[in-house]
Symmetry: C2
Subunit: 341 residues, 2 copies
DNA sequence: TCCGAACATGTTACCGGTAACATCGCAGCA
DNA sequence: TGCTGCGATGTTACCGGTAACATGTTCGGA
């Protein structure tokens, strides 16, 4: 520190250049440097220029940990999602991360897999970093978690699901409704026999349940309901169709819990000599690239994951900037009929 | 604060329960609480039990921001990748995040897209959070960035590429070599005419260059080399094949810069009536699910993304726990011949 | 019986910023 | 000319932990 004008390398992270070093070089108080970085409009042009020059010369990188402790704002959002292996989650995460980044926030990613305890543990862990906001997947929390979240006093967005009593902000849709809509869609095309291949995650199960309930309401028949591991890949769809193949009626309408599952089923149907759509009608979920770009494309339910991410970021920012009312954004879902039905 | 035994709700985040509150309730010094949480083996069983009870009773959530400032360890790693939309990146990111999580580190995700300036900006931004380590994509940095990184005095892992002078730790492979290997593979099968569909990212271009160079060395012919946007999806592969279809020789060997591209090409070949593999041999890259689970599966180059993530985490942890030597891990690549060649 | 490790716990000072308040200088105005 | 108000900048104290050192306690061996 003998020569505060020179960044003394090899002393520690960033050569220990701190705000006081910059202030000394620029001939101002540390607080003024802080103002240049955080509220530049409260500093005169001349002073700001001097400070910026000093920052440049020293290669100063502000320490957001110190700033966060002092200001009680971490400028960080934690996002807890089951996985990023599926477009269902990496799309919103990607868009959300970009949008929050543009607003000066970083996103800490926590992957919870598909076990509820793991999710709670991840939430607990990230709360220790005092995020300014939280993005969670799904809308159903244990009472203990609700308490923890309300104690945290930060905005929370829950995505990909709806609930009558969300924690805070909600950006999602009703999965049961989607299942029912798919059943109606099939029924309208004259189907009476149905099957489902569903991944073992709560939302896929809700879709499947909505589907089966509507089938029952219509007085039609579920010939098979087969469970797959979560997250389900194309291969699981293939194995799934093979598992239920002998139960298929003359003409069956199959609902896959994701486009991966649906595509796997379509591929396997080809191998087994089951004609799509004549013997087997297929509808997927998610509008993944493959549903459109496969030859031919197949019917699916579109829900815009990017839109969910964008909307989640927007709502969170509104909330953090003073909007006090928790909000609920219902994202539309729409069946895109293609060649598989 | 009149009743330190009760968490006084509605005062601020976590009802302002801090380590001194826990200490007071447990009848110990704050430092002892800190020890219970960080180095439990240096605390007696009895004391630890009392402290844990107090933590439980108050619902104390430690503040890692304060802890990080004091200890100069953030227990956080920043990961900068172009996108998580491709298995190429979300696989290593997912595995890396899990592995670091098991070691007590959180991962901050920064998405850089495919513009070099964006990457540098992201790195600068995350360094302000004083990560204990850094995961970067690719191995080529500007001099300014190298300086910044060495000033930061933290371990850096660069993945998915190799370089003669890596910043620090390297976990990757030579993309040019992969391209050459694919050319050799095709040549060994009797091919003499080749084409490439390549995404415009540095590593895809390196693969394609290695491919074209080897083709030239063999005295064979590149009939087409078509550039796609990055990241390239199945649709881009379809469009790409359509764009070069009229230039295809009687029998051509096509190298796609990813399995998405390759699959798109295969699908489009079907539409155009080009027989695979008789008229068009196809090799992809990445061993994505689709390359194995398509019917039939297609030839690809396998590089284990999960292994890259695992190895990156391992190397980083070794380094942070005292290993001083920068290391270089070469990840194997292997051509998996399937029905498309 | 006494001494000194080894262990358990407490005390002090500091990590690097920023909120809140204090101060200063100067223009506008009576 | 003196006062007021406001923009620009400085000062003080604190955010909530933990490193480093100090102190107290226990127990085995000479």
């Amino acid at each position: 520190m003998e020569h505060p004008t020179l960044p003394s390398r090899s002393r520690g992270p960033f050569a220990s250049v701190k705000i006081t070093d910059v202030a000394a070089l620029a001939g101002v108080a540390p607080m003024t440097v802080s103002r240049v970085l955080n509220t530049p409009d409260r500093v005169s042009q001349l002073t700001a220029a001097k400070v910026r020059a000093a920052i440049e010369q020293l290669g100063y990188v502000p320490n957001l940990i110190a700033g966060g402790l002092s200001s009680r704002r971490s400028r960080m959002i934690a996002a807890v999602v089951p996985t990023i292996a599926s477009p269902m989650f990496h799309e919103p995460v990607q868009v959300f991360t970009d949008a929050m980044g543009a607003a000066g926030y970083h996103v800490m990613l926590a992957l919870s897999g598909y076990e509820p305890e793991a999710e709670d543990a991840q939430i607990r862990a990230v709360l220790a970093r005092r995020p300014d906001g939280l993005l969670l997947t799904g809308a159903h929390r244990t009472p203990a978690m609700r308490l923890l979240l309300s104690d945290a006093q930060i905005p929370v967005v829950e995505i990909w699901d709806v609930s009558d009593s969300p924690t805070d902000i909600l950006v999602g849709f009703d999965h049961g409704e989607v299942g029912a809509a798919v059943a109606d869609f099939f029924a309208a095309a004259g189907h009476t026999h149905y099957a489902a291949l569903l991944a073992s995650d709560p939302r896929a199960m809700a879709r499947s349940q909505g589907f089966a309930q509507r089938v029952a309401q219509l007085g039609h028949v579920m010939v098979a309901e087969h469970r797959l591991p979560a997250p389900a890949a194309i291969r699981d769809g293939r194995l799934g169709l093979r598992a239920i193949a002998q139960r298929l009626a003359g003409r069956t309408a199959l609902f896959g819990s994701s486009d991966n599952v649906a595509y796997g089923a379509i591929l396997e149907a080809g191998v087994l000599g089951i004609a799509v759509p004549n013997q087997l009608s297929v509808c997927g979920f998610g509008d993944f690239d493959i549903s459109r770009d496969a030859e031919p494309g197949f019917t699916t339910v579109r829900v815009d994951g990017a839109e969910i991410g964008r909307s989640a970021a927007e709502q969170l920012l509104l909330r953090m900037n003073g909007a006090t009312k928790p909000n609920r954004v219902l994202v539309p879902h729409r069946i895109l009929p293609r060649a598989s039905t």
